[in-house]
Symmetry: C2
Subunit: 297 residues, 2 copies
Amino acid sequence: MLARLECRNRRWRIGLVCAEDESSRMAVEWALQRKFVNVVFIGGTEIVLADKRFDRYRSHISVVRAESRDEAACTAVRMAREGTVDILMKGLINTDNLLRAVLNKEHGLLCKGAVMTHVALARMPSYHKMLFFTDSAVIPYPNREQRVEQVRTIVRICRQTGISRPKVALVHCTEKVNGKIFPLTEDYVEVIRMAKEGAFGDCVVDGPMDVKSACSADAMRIKNIKSPINGDADALVMPDIEAGNCFYKTITLFSQADTAGVLAGTKVPVVLPSRGDDAMSKFFSLALAAWCCYGEE
Amino acid sequence: MLARLECRNRRWRIGLVCAEDESSRMAVEWALQRKFVNVVFIGGTEIVLADKRFDRYRSHISVVRAESRDEAACTAVRMAREGTVDILMKGLINTDNLLRAVLNKEHGLLCKGAVMTHVALARMPSYHKMLFFTDSAVIPYPNREQRVEQVRTIVRICRQTGISRPKVALVHCTEKVNGKIFPLTEDYVEVIRMAKEGAFGDCVVDGPMDVKSACSADAMRIKNIKSPINGDADALVMPDIEAGNCFYKTITLFSQADTAGVLAGTKVPVVLPSRGDDAMSKFFSLALAAWCCYGEE
């Protein structure tokens, strides 16, 4: 994925909001090395100007001063809205403070009618390819409309990163549709129908199925499930934020997963690392955000 | 845990319902080898009598014929109710069919006023000790009363397996209590209050916190969470069945976890393996069920 980004020979403009933390600066430095970004540091500019590592990238960076973190957030969001940065990234600022500026109805970054959702990506030794998943951070309990947009978004991002026909599993604890106990499963039926009718372009969407069936052909065979996913999912749509967050934290802690994440459904992709994310994960998130900037090809 | 079972020098009587499947027979054979069980095979008896491996355990096994799987289930449940078996285990019978007999209001195994819940146990290379969790299989969305019983049950089972002061983390995607968006978090506050007042005996109960914070002191420090769990949880109480099932399937598939599981809140522990479980996992479940038979000591 990274190699293919570099080949494209295009630089996306990142706005890093509050550059005071070391791991964010390290992540953007790596992205500068790989030549797929230019960086606008918004807030925390003194520390950037004093950081000798950035001297060699002088023609690819710029700084915008801000008196406070909130001012940095508002400035960054305004630049994104005006089209002078392509990607926003959270530095040393609370998620709440940055999100407040992003979500502002008048001056924020919400696209009209769009559903804001979080898409993440994991690479782990125990799975044979990258695995996308949504939503571990933003929508608590998706309703049908939000579910449709989650699927639309993850299909689009999978395709943007080069998966021509993504396999999307709608995850649930049971593979039986049962609207009485599990109302979500009825939404799944509707989403699958829409996918078959072409609402999301070329893709395979199936479920309900559990994480193991989605990602293991053996597990699927033992359970006697027939599905075009065939244990080879590219993406998991999680039933709710509890399952999504549980998956994200579990693979990070117990499965040596590298992860990346990006907020979608906004005018520009927003990288919102958690406090616990390291520089590598922030760097991967930047790469994912850069892919999100490309149209489908 | 196994070694300590053997030292006890006590045999619990297992009723294996429908002995036709190989991996269940293998699991009970291992348990016979380790000398902590006697086995009553209920249904599928011809195959057991023809299985030479059991010849050497003749004084520790018996067979009860059944005309059908449902008859086997009813007979097994009656024996459990009458106290002639101590543990039930599902063999080659659908979970639904066995549960129907277990849940029968008149002739079943429900204790009056008790909440039936599923408790599981994982051992994985990336965690330094056994990790209990509930509920990945039975209660979809626990209400406050069910939550209290889940905590009571998992604390009891932890203590029965030798953990004198279990640390129980109440898992949630956020560590902030917010009844408006996340009503569960208010139940957690109440459960923690009860724990502090001694309702569950000697134990530590805290939350809400995510899986990573519950099981990593580093993650807890980075997030600046102060908790007596301190990243060293013995048990995770999952917010709902979606998160529980997602955790269970994820660690099995992506973290090389060995797991065991048992149904609690019934007159005798019931081992209900999934179709995908191997003989080792069924054997571990038997060991866990045997522990559940001991009183707290």
